[in-house]
């Protein structure tokens, strides 16, 4: 830096330098100030509103995540029980008959069908009064279909 402090131009270059410094120079148009300050103010406004936009985007992302996770929870078997058998119904019925020799063949088959289909179904809440409208009330789970009056 010392070299720069002591740096001296020869006389002719100094005069040229003064000539350059003294030459008429163009000033920016007055309208440029308005253009620049308007641009700055608009950019600052955009930056400030950009913060709110980010907050809104984050809130929307949280809502979407919540919605998806609730949907996934509802569609998942909460008991996480292992998948049931895929054995043929007849084979299951035979096994039931072996365990309960007194059970009629039709009843063993019915239990086999229920067992087989139940292993593929997702548990759902008890239907309540509407279940009667669906005809499920006509079933006595101990004795089979209820005789019609």
């Amino acid at each position: 830096m010392a070299a720069m402090t002591n740096w001296q131009l020869p006389g002719d270059l100094q005069r040229l330098e003064h000539r350059l410094a003294g030459r008429p120079r163009e000033e920016p148009l007055a309208a440029l100030r308005g253009r620049v300050t308007a641009g700055v103010e608009a950019a600052l406004r955009r930056q400030r509103s950009g913060g709110w936009w980010m907050l809104a985007a984050a809130a929307a992302a949280v809502l979407i995540w919540l919605n998806l996770s609730l949907s996934a929870t509802n569609a998942t078997d909460g008991t996480l029980r292992p998948r049931g058998t895929r054995e043929p119904v007849e084979q299951i019925a035979r096994q039931i008959e072996q365990l309960l020799p007194d059970l009629p063949r039709e009843e063993a088959r019915r239990h086999a069908v229920l067992y087989r289909s139940g292993s593929e179904l997702i548990p759902c809440p008890e239907l309540g009064p509407r279940s009667w409208a669906l005809g499920l009330g006509s079933w006595d789970l101990d004795a089979g279909p209820r005789p019609k009056a």
């Binding site: 350059l20 120079r25 163009e26 920016p28 253009r35 600052l44 400030r48």
Partner: protein, 179 residues
């Protein structure tokens, strides 16, 4: 030389105070514009470059707290903006390219205006880097250390380039103007 009020100004700029940007414009726009005119030779390009400097300042305002030399920072931003303007101009098809250099002074009737024309013409014929160093020193009123920061060199290199540029200018003017 760094202005003594630069620090509060930088705080205002970093905080997004529009008045600080107005103050900055009033303090530096004239010099920025003149340097841009020296680099780009067109009023509209020079105005665009100055506007880009302020737009860039708004974008990077949160980093302004770390700026040590506001003038060097501004002129470095102007240099980048001028380079972008020059690139955009270079991509324009020739039909849209106007050949008029707005820095050309009107034809002079007296000897003084003739000398000014010669000086302006000689400046335009200098290589871009030499024209730039003269613009930063004479029009931007920067120190060699600041010019070094702007151009990415040392202050001594900036001083040498300036001297070479002046010598070249003198050679160009020889026979037409003698100091």
């Amino acid at each position: 030389m760094e202005h003594p009020d630069s620090e509060p100004l930088l705080v205002g700029l970093a905080g997004g105070d529009a008045r600080a940007f107005g103050l900055l414009y009033d303090r530096f726009a004239g010099r920025l514009y003149q340097v841009a005119m020296s680099m780009l030779s067109r009023r509209e390009d020079a105005e665009d470059a100055v506007q880009e400097v302020f737009a860039a300042l708004v974008r990077s305002r949160q980093r302004l707290g770390a700026v040590r030399d506001l003038q060097a920072y501004l002129f470095a931003a102007l240099r980048r903006a001028a380079a972008r303007c020059a690139n955009r101009r270079a991509r324009l098809p020739p039909a849209l390219e106007t050949a008029v250099h707005e820095t050309a002074a009107p034809s002079g009737q007296d000897g003084e205006s003739s000398l000014r024309e010669d000086l302006a013409a000689a400046l335009r014929t200098l290589p871009a880097q030499q024209r730039e160093v003269i613009a930063l020193k004479i029009d931007g009123e920067l120190t060699f250390a600041q010019i070094g920061q702007v151009m990415g060199t040392s202050g001594n290199t900036a001083a040498s380039r300036y001297r070479y540029a002046l010598e070249k200018l003198r050679q160009l003017l020889e026979g037409e103007w003698r100091p």
